[in-house]
Amino acid sequence: MKFTPKTIEENVNVSPTSPVKDFFELILKILGIFLALYILLGFAVDYIAPRISEKTEAQFGALFNSIYEEQKLPDSEKTVQSIVDKLLSHNPSLPRFTYQTHLIESKKINAQAFPGGHIIIYTGLLKEMRSENELAMVIAHELGHFAHRDHLRGLGRGLVFLVFSTFLSGADSSVSRFIANSMTNAEMRFSQTQESAADSFALELLNKTYSHAAGATDFFEKMSLKYPAPRFFYIFATHPYPQRRIEALKNTIKEKHYLIKEKIPLSLPHQDVH
């Protein structure tokens, strides 16, 4: 047999694809998958949030206790808690949690609802309060979030993972704890519709509790004066424009013929607060 050497020009062992094209194609595909998952999770949150049982939610609440377990102002906390209890006795339809108030020393002028009936109030907010009615309105607003289960939606897409890990490994597992901790870094954000709904819930509850609606708009008026639009927006970015909220509240007061009577002055025992 005669050997005839021959060079093979074509290389079948190397695909003729461009690696750069390959790279971007892969990146786009993988990003697409993640995006689809992210969107699906968003829908899943809306589906799951109203279906979480009160018992499970109470278990979630325990996961966040690192935020509020420190009780630095027990006396003031008691005073605020008494306002919470007063409001609660006038609304039997709220989810049945033991609603607990937690005061946190901070300059933040804000209050937050956490799963399981935990209401966090920052001392920055307390300093602004001049009457019990005004504070009751803010607390009632947070109770409104509980009633509409906004605080569960507010946890965002992490909620889906939290529900799964609770089902698979229990609410007190390290996995659940890890997920809960990573969620608290993100501030809870509610949509403007959710805020407005909580506002009207709060107004109704305030009127029921005190038999009049004085103080309902105090806090928002103060805020709109204290922080003209830009800075105010920075703090309350997701809340409706305060002026619009005040108008909406005033309209409801007029429509429903709520009375406006004398406000109860607020006296908090802790001097830091005042």
Binding site: P5, T7, S15, D22
Partner: protein, 142 residues
């Protein structure tokens, strides 16, 4: 942020330097393969001519070629979705051809290389490739 920047730099360096090295390597392979084109290397065990043999010896050539950061990333992405890791094909191809060329360089004076075998193994977890080629070099009496 710093992580992201260093990551992009590594990927970019990997791509540009890696492509450059690959181009050079392919050019060198082509040149050297042409040089030893006249020396047949076959997988057959017995293709001897009816001539006295002066020497027969075991020869081997091996090459280890590494990936670059870009190729590693690309095959990592490929792992998500499955399919051909085309980025890795050139690595294997270069290693295989380099090993055979080295084997031929070792037995440049031989008349034929019989029983050529090629084996591959993974050198590092990063995805480099090692190829070992071995065979029997036959030298006929002149």
């Amino acid at each position: 942020m710093f992580d992201l920047i260093s990551f992009i730099i590594l990927v970019g360096l990997g791509y540009f330097i890696g492509t450059q090295i690959e181009k050079k390597h392919y050019a060198s392979l082509k040149r050297r393969e042409a040089l030893y084109l006249q020396l047949p290397a076959v997988t057959a065990k017995n293709m001897l001519e009816e001539r006295p043999i002066e020497k027969a010896s075991l020869i081997s050539g091996s090459a280890a070629i590494s990936t670059d950061y870009f190729k590693t990333l690309l095959s990592g992405l490929r792992n998500f979705l499955g399919g051909e890791i085309s980025a890795h094909e050139t690595i294997l191809d270069r290693a295989r051809r380099e090993a055979i060329v080295r084997l031929k360089e070792k037995a440049a004076d031989a008349d034929i290389i019989l029983n050529l075998r090629i084996e591959t193994s993974t050198v590092s977890l990063m995805g480099g490739a090692e190829v070992l080629a071995y065979g029997t070099a036959i030298y006929y009496k002149k």
